[in-house]
């Protein structure tokens, strides 16, 4: 009996349940953390139950199964990717709020245990990169790109389903870890030897390895699918240099996925071999060498950064052009700049570990290579400004995100150049300055881009517009919340506060952590505004219908380009966009 149990549950015991320790240890700290963990687990279980009950009540199981879950249609798969991303986004934001709240009261104390805090920053990072950002952009590319090039579907629809399944499985694993056995505390980077069996025998790192590996495989396959689709399935007349910019960035992202994901597969695979088969790749003993893990991880990690940021670049290119009522400035230059960024992104990964002890000439070479990326990126920013120049700018919701992006992104670029300077990086590496920097790139860059795209293309997908008032509120909450939450982290980083620390002992940090905590609350408001926007839009969908008397539907800029390429005249509003 016990054999059977152990073969099913392995190392899982009763103590894997989040409230188990609370039952045995009644100290206030354990109680608080137990309540939080149990609440999170409860939300997962209740959320799943609620979804099941709702679908049963509506009698939609058959519909859900045959029309969505088994559908190879790229539009539906895209939407399902985005749904996963939004669910995971909500969870990761709540985790972020907990972390900021902890640090706001974390002057030598706080309410979270170090262990719990470790799980929070690990899941937050892992989710945001692998289960929010990647599915979100995969979903949007999935939906929009085939339409823009005039393809009926992706090249390999079944492969697309497989990708969705892999991502969903990984996301499910991260969710299950809330209920059964805690997640890893090794950070989203999972550096060994801390994540090796000898230092971390629990199931947490295994969760991390499996979730990340599934997501990686999914992204590799997605990348292949996208690249082949763009190369082989363009409609006649859709020459490469007529493709909309979003498709161009999708192509570059796909190439980065194809070549950037394998290093992570290697890194996590070897770590798994270390843990399961007693290999010694990254152990401290018997000739293992953890530096190679760091090297491999970032050989993935840096292309990954550009996987995340290129599609938003494309989205913003379309948004700026559309809402300035004007052609995009310097189309060819933007394309060339995108390709430069894509290739250069493979040459800079060492800047994530300047402090590891390599020679100055290696550090300097990679630092300079990093700055080279700043050149095409800077050109892009100016191209967007010149797109608005001499236009007629309408500040719709997607445009508000785009403006927030352009203003904040250049600041992030500046701190990026600072971090790319090895001599300065020795001071701010691993500090909150770094955390502020990459959030400064990813929130205004990736997240604003995705939200902008959602507002921009939602009518195309569902036939009605997203409500604008709550859209504006969400956008402004995002921008203000971002600034409040992350600008203080720059200061904290300059004062030498390490990232990932649950508490601190310097009273000078306190005002800044409190400010960041308030910012996190504003971001939480932004999340609520997004949900309200969705709810209000669905409620009033008939009033916002865009298909009244317009057979071509909502003409996005890409479609216009496509139709023009195909020599088709557009009626009404669409024609305005052509000029």
């Amino acid at each position: 009996m016990s054999d059977a149990m152990s073969s099913i549950f392995g190392r899982l015991g009763w103590d894997a349940l989040p409230f188990w320790s609370m039952l045995h240890d009644h100290s206030p700290m354990t109680l608080i953390n137990g309540v939080i963990a149990t609440g999170a687990a409860g939300m997962v279980v209740l959320g799943a139950l609620a979804a099941i009950v709702l679908v049963s009540w509506l009698g939609k199981w058959k519909y859900l199964w045959s029309e969505w879950l088994t559908s190879p249609d790229h539009k539906k798969i895209g939407i399902m990717f985005i749904v996963i991303a939004l669910v995971m986004l909500a969870r990761a934001i709540i985790e972020a709020v907990f972390m900021r709240a902890q640090q706001a009261v974390g002057l030598d104390g706080g309410f979270l245990t170090a262990e719990h805090f470790g799980e929070l920053f690990t899941t937050h990072g892992t989710i945001m990169v692998f289960f929010m950002a990647m599915p979100f952009l995969t979903g949007i590319i999935n939906y929009v790109m085939p339409l823009q090039i005039g393809a009926r579907d992706l090249s390999f629809p079944v492969l697309n389903q497989v990708s969705l399944g892999l991502t969903a499985a990984g996301a499910a694993l991260v969710m299950i870890s809330l209920v059964l056995a805690p997640f890893s505390t090794g950070g989203w980077t999972g550096y060994p030897p801390f994540t090796e069996l000898s230092y971390n025998p629990g199931a947490g790192v295994d969760y991390w390895i499996w979730a990340v590996t599934l997501s990686t495989l999914s992204s590799t396959l997605t990348g292949i699918n996208f690249a082949v689709t763009i190369f082989k399935k363009r409609a006649p007349g859709m020459k490469l240099f007529r493709m909309p910019l979003f498709t161009w960035t999708a192509l570059c992202t796909a190439i980065l996925m194809i070549f950037g994901m394998p290093p992570l597969t290697v890194a996590t695979g070897l770590l798994a071999l270390d843990r399961y088969l007693d290999f010694h790749m990254f152990t401290t003993d018997l000739g293992g060498n953890m530096m190679n893990y760091v090297n491999l991880f970032w050989a993935f990690g840096h292309p990954e950064v550009y996987i995340l940021i290129l599609p938003p670049f494309g989205i913003f290119s379309e948004v700026f052009a559309t809402f300035s009522g004007k052609r995009i400035y310097g189309y060819k230059i933007l394309v060339i700049a995108t390709m430069c960024i894509a290739v250069l992104s493979f040459t800079v990964w060492l800047h994530h570990f300047f402090t590891m002890g390599q020679s100055a000439h290696i550090n300097a070479a990679f630092g300079i290579a990093t700055m080279l990326i700043g050149i095409p990126t800077g050109v892009k920013v100016y191209d967007w400004m010149l797109t608005m120049y001499r236009g007629r700018i309408r500040l719709s919701v997607p445009m508000v995100y785009a403006i927030g992006f352009i203003m904040l992104f250049v600041l992030g670029g500046m701190t990026g150049i600072i971090l790319a300077t090895p001599s300065v990086d020795y001071q701010i590496h691993n500090s909150l300055f770094l955390v502020a920097h990459f959030h400064n790139m990813l929130i205004p860059g990736l997240l604003f881009g995705m939200l902008s795209a959602t507002n921009f293309w939602f009518p195309k997908a569902f036939g009605f517009r997203l409500e604008e008032r709550w859209g504006y509120r969400a956008a402004f909450c995002w921008i203000i919340g971002f600034m409040l939450a992350f600008f203080p982290l720059y200061v904290l980083g300059l004062m030498g506060m390490p990232r990932r620390s649950v508490a601190y002992f310097e009273p000078q940090y306190l005002p800044w952590t409190i400010m960041a905590g308030i910012g996190a609350l504003v971001i939480l408001c932004a999340l609520l505004c997004l949900l309200l926007q969705l709810w209000v839009s669905i409620r009033d969908r008939h009033a916002n219908n865009v298909f009244v008397g317009d057979p071509l539907g909502w003409p996005d800029a890409g479609m216009v380009g496509l139709l023009t390429a195909a020599g088709i005249q557009l009626p009404g509003a669409a024609r305005d966009l052509q000029h």
Binding site: R152, G223, I224, K232, P263, F279, M281, L286, G287, A566
Partner: protein
């Protein structure tokens, strides 16, 4: 949605259908229709192979960086045998050639007997390769060359058996294709399957060139 009304999707079927428009292996004039629809499949498989190549490349680089990590355990000169490495190399090279013969049989004659013959020969060579490789590993294990012994051996056992696993997968795929051939005959999916498997097979031979040159010959010299 709207795009279906306005966009002609399919490639022009007559447009150089007779020519081989896609690179690498291809079907011949007898397969005009498959030639036209198969292009994406084969190109997609090429891209996948290239992604896989990055994995192998990084494992090669890792292997080189771990050469010093023997931790007092056995090194390449104690573990490797020139003879078996040579036999494995020959088997794989021969199998690449026989698969080429199979491709030819498919391309020009559409000759099922000949095709099956060459495929079976290829399969036997592949299985023989796997047999010798496993025997090699067995000898290594007997001589203390287990992956848990040292970082160097871990690197070896993450590189070479991964190639072996690929060959195993390719052999299974080959058996599956033979089964499909028997049941469905030489229809379009089977043809593209054979083409893709051929790419995989030649690709694995290329990876083996790296392994025997770098791991075995480099270690024994």
């Amino acid at each position: 949605m709207s795009q279906n009304n306005v966009i002609p999707i399919e490639h022009n079927a007559t447009q150089d259908a007779q020519k081989t428009r896609h690179p690498g292996l291809n079907l011949g004039p007898a397969h005009a229709h498959e030639e036209d629809t198969r292009e994406e499949m084969v190109f997609g498989f090429w891209v996948f192979m290239m992604s896989d190549l990055i994995i192998f490349g990084l494992l090669f680089a890792t292997y080189v960086t771990m050469l010093g990590g023997t931790a007092g355990g056995p090194g390449p000169s104690e573990l490797f045998e020139m003879k078996s490495a040579f036999i494995e190399t020959m088997l794989l090279l021969a199998s690449s050639f026989t698969f080429g013969m199979a491709s030819l049989a498919l391309k020009y004659r559409e000759d099922r007997t000949r095709l099956v013959f060459w495929l079976v020969v290829t399969l036997l060579l592949g299985v023989a390769f796997l047999f010798f490789e496993l025997k090699d590993f067995h000898t290594m294990f007997d001589n203390g060359g287990v992956p848990s012994r040292s970082g160097y051996l871990s690197a070896f056992f993450s590189l070479v058996p991964l190639h072996g696993l690929h060959v195993t997968g390719a052999c299974i795929w080959l058996v599956a294709l033979l089964g499909q051939l028997a049941v469905y005959g030489l229809d379009a999916p089977v043809k593209t399957g054979i083409l893709r498997l051929a790419i995989l097979w030649h690709f694995l031979d290329i990876v083996w060139i790296g392994i025997f040159s770098l791991v075995y010959l480099g270690g024994l010299s």
